[in-house]
C-alpha cells in the first residue's frame, strides 16, 4: 500500500515537472501550445548530449536542458508565437502542430529514430529505505524536485515584482501596459521560462521515460490532462491534479490491472464533468 502511494506520487511529480511549463504558456498566457512536448524533448536531448558527448554530470546537464529549451523557446517566441497571441486558438493549434512535425523530423535526422542512452548518477540509482519502505532513489529525487519547483514558482509569482507584473499582464494587458509594464518583453521572458521548465521536466523524465523523437507527441495527452484537470493558469492546480492522476494511475494499475488503460481517462472525464473548470479554477495563483 505505502509503496504504491509513493510510486503514484513520484509518477505524478514526473507529470507535474513536465506539465507545469504548459500551465504557464497555455494557462497563464492562453496560447494553445501543443508543441509543449517538443520543448520537453529539446531539454531531454540537451541533457543527453551534455552527458554523453561533453561528459557533464547529471546536475549540470539539468541546467543545460533548461537553458537550451528556454533559448529555443525564446527564439520561436520572437519569430513565430508573438504574432499569434491574439489569433484564434485554432490557428495556434496549427502553428504548434507544425512545430511538432518539424521537431520530430529534425531530431530523427540528427539523433536517429531510436531511444537515447541515459544512466542516472550513482547516487540516484537503486533503492533506499525510507520510513520502512524500499523506495527508488530516482523517484524520491523526482518528488523532491517537484516540491522544490512548486515552492520556487509560487514564490516567484506571488512574492516578486516580476510575478506581480505577470499576473497584472495576464489579467488585463491594456491596463498593465498603461501602468508602464513592457508587456511584450514580459511575455517573451515568461514564454521562454515556461519552455525552460518544459526542458527541465524533459531532462528529469529521462530516468523513467525513454527519449526518442516521437516524445513530442506521445505523452502530450498526459500533460494536457494534468493541466486541464488541475485548472489551466494556476500552479497549485496542476500540482494537485498531477498527484491525483499519478496515484490513481499507479494504484489502478496495481489493484485493478484489467482496467489499467481506462482508469486515468475515466478519472479525467468524471473530474471535468463535476468540475468543468478544473480542480482549482484560476483566481488566486
Amino acid at each position: 500500500m505505502g509503496i504504491v502511494i509513493f510510486d503514484g506520487i513520484a509518477y505524478g511529480m514526473l507529470l507535474f515537472l513536465i506539465a507545469v511549463g504548459l500551465s504557464v504558456t497555455m494557462g497563464l498566457m492562453s496560447f494553445v501550445n501543443l508543441a509543449h512536448g517538443a520543448f520537453a524533448m529539446i531539454g531531454g536531448y540537451a541533457a543527453v548530449t551534455a552527458m554523453n558527448q561533453f561528459g557533464l554530470g547529471f546536475f549540470p546537464a539539468l541546467v543545460a536542458s533548461f537553458v537550451a529549451a528556454a533559448l529555443v523557446g525564446g527564439v520561436l517566441e520572437f519569430t513565430l508565437y508573438r504574432r499569434l497571441y491574439r489569433a484564434h486558438p485554432l490557428d495556434q493549434v496549427l502553428l504548434s502542430i507544425g512545430l511538432v512535425f518539424v521537431s520530430v523530423a529534425v531530431f530523427t535526422y540528427f539523433f536517429g529514430p531510436t531511444i537515447q542512452a541515459f544512466s542516472p548518477p550513482e547516487s540516484l540509482t537503486g533503492s533506499m529505505s525510507l520510513m520502512g519502505l524500499e523506495v527508488g532513489r530516482y523517484r524520491l529525487f523526482l518528488i523532491v524536485c517537484g516540491f522544490a519547483i512548486l515552492a520556487g514558482l509560487l514564490l516567484v509569482l506571488n512574492r516578486t515584482r516580476y510575478g506581480a507584473m505577470v499576473r497584472a499582464a495576464v489579467d488585463n494587458q491594456r491596463v498593465a501596459r498603461g501602468t508602464g509594464i513592457h508587456v511584450q518583453r514580459l511575455f517573451f521572458l515568461t514564454f521562454a521560462f515556461g519552455c525552460g521548465l518544459a526542458g527541465l521536466g524533459g531532462a528529469l523524465s529521462l530516468g523513467i521515460l525513454g527519449l526518442e523523437p516521437s516524445f513530442a507527441l506521445k505523452y502530450l495527452i498526459f500533460f494536457l490532462i494534468v493541466v486541464c484537470v488541475g485548472g489551466a493558469g494556476t500552479i497549485i492546480g496542476p500540482f494537485v491534479a498531477a498527484l491525483l492522476v499519478g496515484i490513481v494511475d499507479v494504484a489502478g494499475k496495481y489493484y485493478l490491472p484489467e482496467l489499467g488503460a481506462f482508469l486515468i481517462y475515466v478519472f479525467m472525464v468524471i473530474t471535468l464533468l463535476v468540475r468543468p473548470n478544473g480542480l482549482i479554477p484560476r483566481k488566486g495563483l
Binding site: D7, F118, I208, K253
Partner: protein
Amino acid sequence: MLKKTPVIAALALACGLLGTPAQADETLRIGVIASYSGPYADYGRQFDAGIQLYLKEHGGKIAGKKVEIIKKDTAGPAPDAAKRFAQELIVRDKVSFITGLDFSPNAYALAPIVTQAKVPTVVMNASSSAITTSSPYIARVSFTVQQVSAPMATWLLKQGVKETYVVVADYASGTDAHTAFEQAFAMGGGKVVGSVRTPMNNPDFSAYVQRIKDAKPESVFFFFPSGVMPPAFLKAWKERGMEEAGIKLFATGEATDDSYLEATGDAALGLITSHHYSYAHKSEKNQKFVKDFYDTFGKSMRPSYFAITAYDGMAAIAGALQKTGGDVSGDKVMAALKGLQFESPRGPIEIDAATGDIVQTVYIRRTERVGGELVNVEFDQFDKVKDPAKAAK
C-alpha cells in the same frame, strides 16, 4: 465560394508533376511499404539498409535486371494507407513484388489486393501468424510471434523452471505471445501462476513490477514490442531489486532489439531471450554481413532483426526468380518461393512449401557485455522451428 478554382488548378498541376516513372523492360520494380517516419522509423531504416546491402553485393541486379525500389511510408500501423499504397504500387508503378511490411494490420489490409492482382508479396517483419494464410500470394521471411515465444517455454522447462508469470503488452501480438507461451509451457507440465497485460502507451511500469514482486513468482516471461517499452520495464525491474528478490526474467528477442540494446544499458544485462537473429551470431556468413553492413552504413547503426529479414527478403526474391528463370508472374513466383531453402546470415532458413511461412532456427541468447558493447550471445538453439500456431491446426 469563388476562390477555389486556382487551388484546384494548382493541385491538378501538382498531380501531373507526381507523374509515373518511365518504364523499361529491363527493370525489376519492387515496392517497399514500411514505416520510414514517426516512432517506428527505425524499422524502415533497417529494412532499407538490408535491401541496399543486398543490392550492393549483387551489383544492383536481381535475375539480370536492374532493381528499382519504390518506398512508401506508412509511419506506423496504418492499414488504410498500406492498402492504398499497395494498390498504387501495382496499378501506377507496375511493381513485380511488394515487400517491407513491418506491422501486421498493414499486411492484412493489403492481402485482398495482392490476391486480386496476383502480385507476390514477401513479408519482412509483420509477425501475426495468419498473415500467410490471408492470401496465397504472401510469403514470409521474418518470424511469427508464436514461433519465437513457444521455444522459450520449452527451454524454461528444460532448465527445470516449473512456474512463471506472464507479462505482455495489451495488443494482438501480446495476446499471441501469451497464448503460444502458455500452451507450450502447460504441455510440458509448467504452470502460469499469473499474468498481466499492460497498455501500449504506458509511461511508468512501477505498478506492474511491484505487483509481480508481491506475487513472488519463481520466474517471469514478458513480451513487448521493440522500442521504448522494454527499456522502461527493465529499468523499473532493476530499480526495484527484482534480481535480488530472486525472480528470474525471460523474454522474446524484441526486448533486446539490437537497435535499442545499447541505449537500454546495463538494465538488460543477464536477460535471457529467444529470437531468430542476433547480430552477434557466430557464423562466417554473418560476420561478413555485419562487416559489409558497417562498411556501407558506418558504425552508428547496428544491423537488427529488421535488417537481416530485409536482406533475406531480397535473397528470397532472387532465389525465386532464379527458379522461374526471371518470370515474374505471380503464380510461378509463389510456387518457386514455397519450399525455397537457403543459408542466411542468421542460419539456415526455409519457406515452408505448405504454408509459405518461414522455418528457421530459434536461438536462446543471454545479454552480455562483449568488448565494451552489449550484445545477445546465443548459447542454445532449436532447429527447424515451424510456426506452432499453424502446426496446431
